[in-house]
Amino acid sequence: MSYYGLVDGTEASLKKYLASLSGVDQVGADARAAMLATRSIKAASKRWAIDTAISMVDLTTLEGADTPGKVQALCSKAVRPDPTDSTVPSVGAVCVYNDMVGIARAHLDLIGGEHVGVAAVSTAFPSGRASMAVKIQDTQDAVDAGASEIDMVIDRGAFLSGRYIEVFDEIVKIREVCGDKAHLKVIFETGELVTYDNVRKASFLAMAAGADFIKTSTGKVAPAATAPVVLVMLEAVRDFYAMTKVQIGVKPAGGIRNTKDAIKQLVLVNETAGPEWLKPSLFRIGASALLNDLLMQRMKMDDGYYASPQYVTID
């Protein structure tokens, strides 16, 4: 593999590549993210933003208590988020645990949701603590069951102790398992990476190793997708595009619960990576509760009065 000509697969070349990255100005990133969060999006722009955000949602259920029935209900909601309004777009994908992939794919195909992808969390999600053989088998199972997207977690222990080549090799191997059947999203769990410098480093490492998407968090650790972290990752994909002419997607996940948060994310994308990134193939939002709030805001824009949670489904 060429790794875009950035590294040759050896530890020495990877170290040199990561050392060449500039650091992140933490105060500057916080201030920039806070400033962009003050933008007010209204009327027609808000309407567009809501529909765009809906089409970018990876509708997620990652609970120990997930049942086939719950996953099927989630799939139905993914295809027609508001059963009373056919103008609401389908979401980007449903995101489930490995063993639910087959059930989700079958149900989506049954109800005319062929265009909705199934994302499977993989590589011993959420901790990433398992042997390489297990991680590969985990991913293989999901791909065989019909997953079109694999959300893998990196080994944060290896990353934080400086064994970058391990993390790199892991992503390369999982990329091989995905082949051309599935997109690969790499989850950093930014809440555990501590610094923005680490987030930038992890972003470039994952992109060079073949990630199609870089994703903030598992949703199991707080803080998750904070605005500055997403900003740093968007800057990373922008800079990577300048170096390689390859567009990598970004997926914030965890803590994005209402329309306001989602629109803030869209503003970040537009102002950082650019408007070309404002599409589901390059930006996704991992969420579960968010979709209901987007639907309620959409109802409010149509009806002119505030909606009630009693008019949207619970899950």
Partner: protein, 280 residues
């Protein structure tokens, strides 16, 4: 001669146990009977109402689960706090309305007494309106009152304090949470009452108080899908038709009241009937 600079109070809204300014940044002038400027309270916007509804909805299940005994204690606590700040309320009523001191004192006394009276109803209302119904079968058949959810109310222009307490308290006695629009002309005692509520162990979001214009906020209250009932006693009867139409879409219960009586508590309760088998 005093060198002290006046420490003037900023009258803000009361939403979710906090005192935010209106998100709209709008204010209006309150003047006394002679036309002298007194204060700039907030002119609440539709978004402020929405925020208050979100807070009230989130607080409702917790408040509903509190025991009748606990609810009564908390209402009595509000009365205690109000009693302790009597001079401030008397002052504010006189400043805004220009009534005599005796009249203002009577209003505050009535307000405290009314709170105590409502506090007593928390553990009696289900005995008064609930029933054990005789049925032709081996069942116990109970009818019990339950809270309706989130209720909005429009307090009368005057009396500004007693009217507010009559609007708020019967709603929360049975486990509902409330968003109330205070008297437009005399909102000072309402916002000071918010400070009393904030120090009375009332959980955040159970009582939310807005100040602003009735003709602006009442239609928003009526059409909001997540408000279950509305007390429009404080609204002029000319506006009632429009409000009832706006509330019809979401099947909102809309009532007016003339006096403080248990019916005012029962208006925002729903009766549930339960069948329970009798063992051998």
């Amino acid at each position: 001669m005093s060198n002290r600079i006046d420490v003037k109070k900023t009258y803000k809204l009361f939403i979710n146990g906090a005192f935010p300014r209106t998100e709209s940044g709008r204010t209006y002038e309150v003047k006394n009977a002679k036309g002298t400027f007194i204060a700039n309270p907030c002119l609440a916007s539709r978004k402020d109402l929405k925020d208050a509804v979100v807070a009230a909805r989130a607080a409702q299940s917790g408040w509903n689960k509190a025991s009748a005994y606990n609810k009564g204690q908390i209402l009595y606590r509000i009365a205690e706090m109000l009693e302790g700040r009597r001079p401030q309320f008397v002052d504010e009523i006189i400043t805004v309305t220009g009534v005599t001191k005796a009249k203002a004192e009577k209003e505050v006394t009535d307000a405290v007494d009314r709170l105590v009276w409502y506090a007593g109803w928390t553990d009696k209302i289900s005995s008064l309106s609930g029933a054990l119904n005789p049925v032709a079968g081996p069942y116990y058949n109970f009818t019990i009152p339950e809270s309706m959810g989130v209720i909005a109310a429009i307090a009368p222009e005057s009396p500004s304090l007693l009217g507010l307490i009559d609007a708020v308290t019967p709603i929360i006695v049975g486990g509902n949470t409330v968003i109330v629009l205070a008297s437009t002309k005399a909102p000072l005692s309402a916002m000071s009452f918010a400070e009393v509520v904030a120090t009375s162990d009332v959980p955040a979001g159970v009582i939310n108080i807005l100040t602003g214009k009735k003709d602006e906020i009442a239609p928003w209250m009526a059409s909001h899908m997540d408000i279950d009932g509305l007390d429009i006693s404080g609204l002029s009867s000319k506006a009632h038709g429009e409000i009832r139409i706006a509330g019809a879409e979401n099947l909102k219960r809309i009532y007016t009241f003339k006096s403080a009586d248990p019916g005012r508590i029962l208006a925002f309760l729903e009766h549930k009937t339960v069948w329970h088998p009798i063992g051998n």
